[in-house]
Amino acid sequence: MSDRKLPRLLQTPAVLLLLVWMLIPLGMTLYFSFIRYVLNSLRRPEWTSPSLSNWRGFGNYEFVLKSKDFVLAIQNSLFIVCSILFLTVILGILIAVLINKSFPGQGIVRVLLISPFFVMPAVNAVLWINMILDPVLGLQGIAVAGTNDILDGLRQMPVLGGFFSLWPEFEPISFRATQTSAIAVIMMVTWQWTPFAVLIFMTSLQSEDQQQKEAAVLDGASTWSQFRFLTLPHLGRPIAIVVMIQAIFHLSLYAEIEIVSRGNGNKNLPYLIGEFANNNIGAASATGIFAVILANIVAIFLLRMVGKTLME
């Protein structure tokens, strides 16, 4: 017995910390999700402190399911996460393959490529929405205005002017609008997380067996075939890692959504929780439980899919 006591004793702090950090919040969330609990209510002051006497059963869950934003939040969460995953994996593979060849200035290029990853999410969002995507002051606005100026000039030309006057005037897109705010979030997060994918794919590419490639060259494989039959299967595992880690991170996006449109037309589950938590802690907790379930479904689904298609 004494043989086991010491190891167990030494493990205890870690286990206790895990309990404190994981089980207690989860337990409290579960508890709050089954009771009526609001931060401020003049009409029912007894609801402002958590107590079992305010038991509501699945009422909070029903309330969340029926609220108009819930379906939008789920759809948006999935849309944003899947789009970002798709774009970062594709861009990551392309860039990693491109910079895997040696060229002068390779080191600097690699550092520059990684740097977006070091920008804080909130700063990233502010920079993108104000300096790049803004329809008037951002790069987008300047580019659209510039293009229109050039078109105006072309319309004045003697012969070809008639042709160019058939072209429409370009309209800058407002990325804070209901329809486009999700796109803005996808763009900025893709920009920030592509370096992460590049980094992981690049290290994996460097471990690729060169003799296999030479054998493929002798077997008559084109560059594309080498990529398709050797490099891509070799990247299967790192792709699964990138997808999994990013799925976990991006299901909890918040700062970007807040900064771009304050949730206007573009809520995800964490943002919805945040809105509920302004007053209704019970509903916020129920949404939190839904978020946990969604995260697990997404994780299992993605892992299966990536595993099956790429591991073989």
């Binding site: 067996d209 003799q211 030479e214 060259v217 002798l218 077997d219 008559g220 070799h234």
Partner: protein, 334 residues
């Protein structure tokens, strides 16, 4: 067909010339072995023939056609790599069929050819396994199978057996020799192991520092080494090579005598020495003799067994017609 001619072929990496211009002809159906110590350029030479390495100058002809700037896959050669270079994500069947698939061959024809190759290599039971589930010898056979299905004009082997254990190596050596007898296709085989070279080759090319030291049949090289390097490299145990008064007596700068061409006596002989380590192999005994005044150590080989103890006095007599004589430049004196 598969006659390969190297014409003034050379290779430099930057300022370092690893292979000075060399000429070599490998006839159709020959089993040529490139042998030499590591770093002698034998693998580079093979990779140049395969097209994986560009020539710095010179030309390569296969069947009288200049292939110097032809892409590797169009040269009609198949290569077996030291690390096998199997595609880890494909089954054995797909691995073997890969070159045919790249040729856009009909799937039915691919299946037929793969099965034929697998049958001849005893791989039928493993066709649906991945390389990771195979032993070293099986992986090597898959690599050979991938080469065979292409029906190449010549096979190139780059130290294919060096990752195998000793017992398997002997077995695979026989299999490859057998395969050559059956197919009568040109084969070029790179190895640093002179036993492999001696047992498998029709033609051995001994290389040192990118220079061909001698080209010839195994027995040519054994009986008539053209220089001291070849004399020391071919044969096991190594030939005893020394210079000094004994060599001058025979009108040479350096002389060499193989361990098996020295007679041993406990009572009388030309050279006297003291027994060091004796290695008893049962069929043979190798005796390392010290204090002869000729070289640090002279190795002799005796058929059968002999009872000698460490420190015994021993007499050696070289067989006069088996002494190799070399001039000060290390070249053979006829």
């Amino acid at each position: 067909m598969g006659r390969i001619v190297l014409d003034q072929v050379s290779k430099s990496f930057g300022d370092v010339e690893v292979i000075p211009p060399l000429d070599l002809t490998i006839e159709d159906g020959e089993f040529a072995v490139f042998v030499g110590p590591s770093g002698c350029g034998k693998s580079t030479l093979l990779r140049m023939i395969a097209g994986l390495e560009e020539l710095t100058s010179g030309a390569i002809e296969i069947d009288d056609e200049d292939v110097t700037s032809v892409s590797p896959s169009k040269r009609g050669l198949a290569m077996v790599f030291q690390s096998y270079a199997l595609y880890p994500h494909m089954t054995v069947r797909k691995n073997i069929g890969f070159p045919l698939r790249m040729e856009k061959m009909d799937q039915a024809e691919i299946d037929k050819r793969v099965e034929t190759a697998a049958q001849s290599l005893n791989l039928m039971d493993y066709l649906d396994r991945k390389p990771g589930q195979l032993s070293g010898g099986q992986r090597q056979r898959v690599a050979i199978g991938r080469a065979i299905v292409r029906d190449p004009s010549a096979f190139l082997f780059d130290e294919p057996l060096s990752n195998l254990d000793a017992a398997l190596r002997v077995g695979m050596r026989l299999e490859i020799s057998e395969m050559h007898e059956r197919m009568q296709t040109t084969m070029i085989y790179v190895t640093h192991d002179q036993v492999e070279a001696m047992t498998m080759a029709n033609k051995i090319v001994v290389l040192q520092a990118g220079v061909i030291e001698q080209v010839g049949s195994p027995l040519d090289l054994y009986h008539k080494p053209q220089n001291v390097f070849v004399a020391g490299f071919i044969g096991s145990p190594k030939m005893n090579i020394f210079s000094g008064p004994e060599a001058e007596k025979l009108g040479a700068h350096t002389i060499g005598i193989r361990p098996e061409h020295t007679n041993v006596s406990m009572t009388e002989g030309t050279w006297e020495g003291r027994v060091g380590v004796a290695e008893h192999l049962g069929s043979d005994t190798f005796i390392h003799v010290h204090d002869t005044g000729l070289a640090d150590m002279i190795t002799v080989r005796i058929t059968g067994d002999i009872s000698v103890k460490h420190g015994d006095k021993i007499f050696l007599t070289p067989q006069a017609d088996q002494i190799h004589r070399f001039d000060p430049n290390g070249q053979r004196i006829a």
